[in-house]
């Protein structure tokens, strides 16, 4: 092959108009699928970010062996069991313990000193998935000496993920990256202090789990929690469109006490959100915010 010549083997873009018609009808099929799910089961995906929703829907369609989204819709509306499977496929995220170690460093440096001043600390971990980041938080609170005074509410809408989180059991293969995150985040011991090992799995110790209440909660359709000192919701809002992001951020604002902290994912922010005037940035880079007592004048 000549290495320095422009080669244009030809264009093959002639079929575009037929494909576009197909895509538009697919869009309609998806709208019908989502409204069917909302009406039948109360799960509302209509304000999810479409691009990643589409990938997940396509995967769910293939897993259900449906030929198209209309067939998937029929299957899901017909059987709760297949809907459970669908829900599982729709909410699998992959996380790690101490994901983004710098975030936990800043949490120790800037948030912990304030939390420590309270006799009792309430923390809401929204969208806890399989629990890795909740146990990270519990370990951090233990090392800072106030886990015993804290209550963590960990919620998710995926019951299967919640069950896994409650079990506190993870494959031993994950431990190297867990430990690495723990050390980089400013961990004070060896991570193995916090788990027991057996049968190729680790189980986090009960004194961590005892301070965590796991419960079902759907950020889209369920209400607020009261008087939180800290809300941690990292890499959940990226799955929502602007409208739904605003609604959920409003729930967080309602759930926080004055001076309470809100922690978002590394690439999420309050920019352009309606609740922005209610918060000040504690750490812009790590996306740590604090609720003001009075709204900031714009």
């Amino acid at each position: 092959m000549p290495s320095s010549s422009l080669i244009a083997p030809g264009r093959h873009g002639k079929k575009a108009s037929g494909a576009i018609r197909g895509e538009d009808s697919e869009r309609l099929e998806i709208d019908l699928l989502l409204s069917g799910i909302r009406d039948r089961y109360g799960y509302d995906f209509t304000h999810y970010s479409r691009a990643s929703l589409l990938r997940r829907l396509a995967k769910a369609r293939d897993q259900a062996k449906a030929k198209h989204f209309t067939e998937l819709r029929d299957k899901l509306l017909d059987s709760e069991k297949s809907f459970d499977e669908f829900l599982k496929a729709m909410s699998i995220t992959v996380t790690n313990m101490f994901r983004d170690p710098e975030f936990y460093q800043e949490l120790r440096a800037q948030v912990v000193p304030v939390l420590k001043t309270f006799p009792f600390i309430k923390i809401w971990h929204a969208g806890c998935a399989t629990g890795e980041e909740v146990y990270s938080m519990a370990i951090l609170l233990h090392e800072e000496g106030f886990l015993e005074r804290s209550q963590i509410y960990a919620t998710d809408f995926n019951k299967q993920s919640l069950d896994m989180a409650k079990d506190a059991v993870y494959p031993i293969g994950n431990i190297d990256s867990f430990s690495e995150g723990y050390q980089e985040s400013g961990g004070k011991r060896d991570l193995s202090y916090y788990y027991n090992y057996g049968y190729e799995r680790v189980k986090f110790r009960d004194f961590l789990r005892n301070r965590i209440t796991f419960s079902y909660h759907n950020l889209v359709t369920d209400g607020v929690f009261g008087e939180m000192n800290l809300i941690c919701c990292r890499n959940v809002l990226i799955y929502f469109d602007k409208i739904l992001q605003d609604q959920v951020l409003g729930k967080f604002e309602d759930s926080l006490r004055h001076g309470g902290f809100l922690c978002l994912g590394n690439r999420e922010s309050l920019n352009f959100s309606a609740v922005q005037p209610m918060f000040e940035a504690v750490d812009k880079k790590q996306r740590i915010y604090r609720k003001r007592s009075v709204p900031h004048a714009l």
């Binding site: 092959m1 264009r11 494909a19 990226i238 992001q245």
Partner: protein, 188 residues
């Protein structure tokens, strides 16, 4: 053809490849560029800052729900998939790895092909895995244009070769040939 956006996938050897051609694009270059560069977790903001200092275009990491604007080069943040929405804003996800990668080139290319269809240019550069091949095929299926770095010119030839095997691409070029070709395509 009037093109509206460029997506680029690059892996092993990517830093040198990107340094070799992004700085050669003028500030007036009107098409927004989104890049998935495979990298390890630690090197987060460094790449964007480094390229930005060398370039006339503004190089930034993509923000969730941020707009995709001309004059900018957007990099997928480390450990997130980067996708493009119908309103031409970005969204991010932490879904499972695709082709052992997050960000994955296929994820960016497929979502961009959905949105821009025939107005999209996809570019596959050096890399040691096959991520991007499926995405290149998807861009061609929607009538878009695909450019692949000549495998003989690439530091790692697996990714260009995989794309060439998967899709009937429009141009096979060296890095040096890329900036003039893009200027020509953007000018049409």
């Amino acid at each position: 053809m009037h093109y509206e956006a460029i997506v680029i996938g690059v892996s092993t050897g990517g830093l040198d490849a990107l340094k070799g051609f992004i700085p050669k694009l003028p500030a007036s270059f009107a098409l927004p560029v989104a890049i998935v560069q495979h990298r390890n977790q630690r090197s987060s903001d460094f790449l964007a800052e480094h390229l930005n200092r060398m370039s006339a275009l503004r190089v930034v990491e993509a923000e969730d729900k941020g707009p995709m604007c001309g004059g900018y080069v957007y990099l997928a943040p480390a450990t997130y998939h980067l996708l493009i929405e119908a309103d031409r804003s970005f969204s991010l996800s932490v879904d499972a790895l695709v082709n052992y990668s997050r960000p994955s080139v296929d994820v960016l290319f497929e979502s961009a092909a959905d949105v821009f269809r025939q107005a999209l240019i996809g570019i596959i550069l050096t890399g040691a895995n096959t991520d991007g091949a499926q995405g290149a095929r998807e861009i061609k299926a929607r009538g878009g244009l695909v450019i692949v770095q000549d495998p003989a010119d690439a530091e790692a030839d697996v990714m260009p070769k995989a794309a060439l095997a998967a899709a009937r691409v429009d141009y096979i070029v060296t890095l040096d040939q890329l900036p003039p070709l893009l200027l020509q395509l953007a000018g049409k």
